[in-house]
């Protein structure tokens, strides 16, 4: 059965919420009563329940199957975390109620900050960014503020081609010019010599480099320390995109690699749920050089415990926040979940999780490398393995077709056409949450698909998916003439 929109089956004159209405009273709205129409259906609870349960069934989810999205890190979301976030002492407290009544909340944020700094080997952390991209923005704002404080005004940010699109977007948002840096042909990592030349070319005008490490090809930048040194020598900062930090938790500390700022996607590395696209949370760890510029609010160690600093008026010497990223204190609900995850794993478990993630990715790699093509040879990868479309050459099957055919086999497609540095990229990240049996089945399925493509069974691909709630959707017409909300159908023409 097809599920209509609420506007198509709901009553517009009913409500599914009961209220105890007050006696008549004189309103004090100053004549601003709503006159504009407001037509929203009010469903009875059983109607709403059924509608949204049915809708949910059209979704793929990590709870229902392996989600091999490289770089997106779809790992298990423990329900303990959900339970903890719903404790009234966390879920039902107001950001502006007296600080004396939220001491546990501030302590929780401080504890989480301690874990993040210790893991990453950094000095400070800006907790409030609301998502990874927001964290990038925060980190780059701190860098800009630091330059400003030093009387510098560099205009260029270096970004490798393999970077997430948010990196150049963030740099541009802050008025920087984005200069691309070259990758080494053999493995897609940054070419140190080329970088040095670029630095020399723009001497004194480089604000920062934005680098993902492990990079989006699933490889660790072997010359990372040299890169950091070169950048620092140029009076610039090293911004690390932390999207792939989950590969190395407990194995290396970004601070030790020379990173000045790195956002951490709590949903990728620390298991807070993706929720169909958010909410995220993107705390940014900062090196000693950037620490003073962390935005408001931040937590200062006080004699009687942690102190939440909310306004410029409350600053002490040396504190130079560049401003504020958001109202209130950030994504508390996500903090609780992430800390619950960290406490559960502990130092040993976090390290084990990274190891298992890398182990699983390499297990998939060796399971597929004879049939699918590795752009940079059969070297170990980190937590994700990158294939290109060479193996599909002359089959008439594209990366997109191949990925869509996975849906009919019960899998979500892998990340496609990203990173841009290889042709027809397919980036697979199984995460540590998959069992060996699950990986074996996944590998077998992909092998079967490859053989099918080789055997010329193009129908299986070109029309895929066949068995999903919807088949391929017409994105072009959606964009050409956007329909972004439901409109009541025009009344039928009167007869005659």
């Amino acid at each position: 059965m097809e599920e209509p929109l609420i506007f198509e089956f709901g009553h517009f004159d009913t409500t599914g919420v009961d209220f105890d209405m007050p006696d008549a009273f004189e309103m004090e709205l100053g004549g601003h009563e709503r006159k504009a129409a407001l037509e929203l259906p009010g469903l009875a609870e059983p109607e709403a329940m059924r509608h949204y349960v049915r809708l949910s069934r059209n979704n793929y989810a990590i709870d229902a199957g392996l989600y091999p999205l490289g770089s997106c890190t779809m790992k298990h979301n423990p329900r303990l975390n959900e339970k903890m976030a719903r404790l009234p002492g966390f879920g039902d407290i107001h950001p502006l109620q007296p600080l004396s009544t939220v001491k546990g909340a501030v302590e929780l944020i401080d504890t989480l900050a301690h874990w993040l700094m210790t893991m990453t080997g950094t000095t400070a952390v800006a907790m409030s960014p609301k998502a990874g991209a927001h964290g990038e923005q925060c980190g780059m704002m701190a860098i800009k503020a630091a330059h400003k404080a030093a009387g510098r005004d560099p205009k260029i940010v270096l970004v490798p081609e393999s970077a997430h699109g948010t990196n150049p977007a963030t740099a541009a948002l802050l008025g920087y010019k984005v200069v691309s840096i070259d990758a080494k042909d053999e493995d897609g990592t940054v070419d140190l010599e080329a970088l040095k030349r670029k630095i020399a070319e723009h001497e004194g005008d480089i604000a920062a480099i934005m680098l993902t490490n492990p990079n989006t090809c699933g490889l660790f930048e072997r010359e990372i320390i040299e890169i950091a040194d070169a950048i620092h020598k140029a009076n610039a900062y090293f911004y690390c995109d932390g999207a792939n930090y989950n590969a190395i938790v407990g194995k290396a500390r970004p601070g030790d690699l020379g990173v000045d700022a790195m956002h951490i996607n709590l949903h990728k590395t620390f298991s807070t749920p993706h929720g169909g696209g958010g909410p995220g949370s993107g705390p940014v760890v900062l090196s000693e050089r950037l620490a003073p510029f962390a935005p408001l609010p931040f937590i200062r160690k006080g004699e009687d415990g942690p102190v939440l600093v909310e306004t410029p008026e409350a600053l002490e010497a040396g504190e130079q926040p560049f401003g504020r990223m958001t109202a209130f204190h950030g994504q508390m609900g996500m903090y609780v979940r992430a800390l619950s995850y960290m406490l559960s794993h502990g130092s040993d478990g976090l390290r084990q999780a990274s190891e298992d993630a890398v182990l699983n990715a390499n297990y998939v790699r060796v399971g597929l490398q004879d049939l699918m093509s590795l752009p940079f040879g059969e070297r170990p990868c980190m937590h994700e393995v990158l294939f290109d479309d060479t193996f599909l050459k002359d089959t008439g099957v594209t990366t997109l077709d191949f990925a869509k055919a996975m849906i009919d086999e019960g899998y979500h497609p892998m990340t496609m056409y990203f990173p841009l540095v290889v042709h027809g990229a397919m980036l697979i990240e199984p995460t540590e949450s998959e069992s060996r049996a699950s990986l074996d089945l996944f590998v077998a399925t992909l092998r079967d698909l490859v053989m099918s493509a080789r055997n010329g069974e193009t129908d299986r691909f070109s029309g895929a998916p066949y068995f999903s709630p919807r088949r391929r959707l017409d994105e072009t017409s959606a964009a050409r003439k956007p329909v972004l909300k439901w409109e009541a159908p025009a009344p039928a023409e009167a007869a005659e």
Binding site: S56, N58, N59, N77, T101, G330, I407
Partner: protein
């Protein structure tokens, strides 16, 4: 470890299959000197029981809103959310799904986003809404940047009635992007002359209504002046429930409407995650930040939904994108949509009416307290009072008596003598006569 399915035997077998001797061989690219060969100086793994106890102990140090008479607002509001909402958003298929980039297997998410967009457009009386922002404050900053793109100007005028933290977010971003921001002084009495600030250089004027102090602002003259100058009116709200009862910004000429949606479907959560609402006129769609969900058809001709107009977005346009945002507040938007689908216009209006009635009742009751002056004339559920003492001390004294009375303006705008005694008090449908009686009685004691 309970979340890790590999057994030690699995690990050994898999390493053998991969053809390496040890797990560290797979980490060989990490420079030797930066490798952590020992565990970090952090606690070891813990049982679920232990974690639960540790976090519960922290939670127990906080005072939940539901446990006391509660009048704290100023941008976040304690409403009652039906149990159905939290149940549904925890469905595995919603909670643990990714961004709906593969629409064939994410119609569930896409369809509720389409419902969400329609609800938000209708609430605000605007043409289109996006699929949500992080929250109201970041949405406001994005609205200012959007206005700059639309008008190709760089000066924003911010009302003194704008939430001080929203203002800080806009100023911080503008400052680093080298834009101009004219921020009017705090305006508790609602007397600012914002029209005088709008000129031909102005990209946008940002006005909150009901404003931070609770005052409902007439947006029509501001819209008229802005449009006359070629500027956009950005209308902001922090209490979305107000739109059930008061004239929406879209009916008053606003060009962009942005606000906080937390009140519907979402808990207080100490400030986040929340859900930003963002709506505008059709002509500005392609300048709009954030995700958009649109209707289309699939290969079999069936109606379906997709993320659309992605050419505005960072993953296509990179450094030319309209913004760097690549998530929305999906699950919070779902909570919003479900709660509002239950309420309907009828329920929303009822809920808003109770909030307003409770505010009127409290305002009347406060008239009996000597030395307390209500500054706000036209209001929805929140108003500002002037106390005979510093508001922060009064609030602490009331907290000690188990009453959370509101937000001292000085918490957000410290160091200004004229604001020191001001208290912003919020009312919602959860407040009872007993709550109000308790507040009034305690306030009399504290002020005595």
């Amino acid at each position: 470890m309970r979340y890790l399915p590999l057994s030690n035997q699995d690990r050994a077998d898999m390493l053998a299959r991969i053809g390496v001797d040890s797990i560290d061989d797979l980490f060989a690219d990490i420079p030797q000197k930066a490798r952590l060969n020992d565990l970090m100086d952090l606690p070891r793994r813990a049982s679920e029981l232990q974690v639960e106890r540790q976090l519960s102990a922290l939670a127990a140090k906080n005072v939940p809103a539901s446990s006391v008479p509660f009048f704290v607002g100023a941008g976040a509001y304690k409403h009652h959310v039906p149990a159905t909402v939290d149940h549904l958003i925890q469905r595995s298929e919603f909670l643990t799904s990714y961004t709906p980039y593969q629409p064939e297997v994410t119609q569930g998410t896409l369809q509720y986003l389409f419902e969400f967009q329609t609800q938000v457009a209708r609430l605000t009386a605007m043409d289109v809404a996006n699929a949500s922002m992080y929250d109201g404050s970041t949405g406001t900053a994005e609205a200012v940047l959007m206005a700059h793109r639309v008008t190709k100007r760089k000066k924003a005028v911010l009302s003194g009635g704008l939430h001080p933290q929203y203002r800080a977010v806009v100023e911080g971003l503008a400052d680093l992007a080298d834009d101009d921001v004219v921020s009017l002084p705090a305006d508790p009495a609602g007397t600012e002359d914002i029209l005088a600030q709008i000129d031909k250089e102005t990209s946008c004027v940002v006005v909150q209504s009901p404003n931070f102090y609770g005052q409902i602002v007439d947006l029509k003259p501001i819209a008229a002046k802005a449009h006359e100058c070629g500027a956009l009116l950005i209308a902001v709200f922090t209490e979305v429930v107000s739109l059930g009862l008061i004239e929406p910004p879209g009916a008053q000429g606003a060009d962009i409407v942005v606000g906080e949606g937390q009140s519907i479907g979402n808990g207080l959560n100490f400030g986040g995650p929340y859900v930003g609402l963002f709506a505008t006129r059709s002509k500005y769609i392609r300048q709009m930040p954030g995700r958009l969900c649109g209707e289309t058809t699939d290969a079999d001709g069936k109606r379906g939904f997709v993320l659309t107009l992605s050419t505005r977005e960072q993953h296509i346009r990179r450094d030319k994108a309209t913004s760097n945002i690549c998530t929305n507040s999906g699950l919070c938007a779902l909570a919003f949509t479900i709660h509002l689908s239950l309420l309907g216009s009828k329920g929303l209006r009822q809920m808003a009416t109770i909030c307003h009635a409770n505010a009127v009742k409290l305002k009347t009751a406060l008239a009996s307290v000597a030395g307390v002056e209500v500054l706000t004339g036209a209001y929805f559920n929140e108003f500002t009072v002037k106390l005979p003492k510093a508001a922060d001390a009064v609030v602490e004294a009331l907290a000690a008596k188990g009453i959370l009375a509101g937000v001292p303006v000085s918490r957000l705008v410290p160091g200004k003598a004229e604001l020191a005694n001001l208290l912003v008090i919020a009312n919602t449908e959860v407040n009872t006569d007993d709550d109000r009686d308790a507040l009034v009685a305690a306030l009399k004691e504290v002020l005595a």
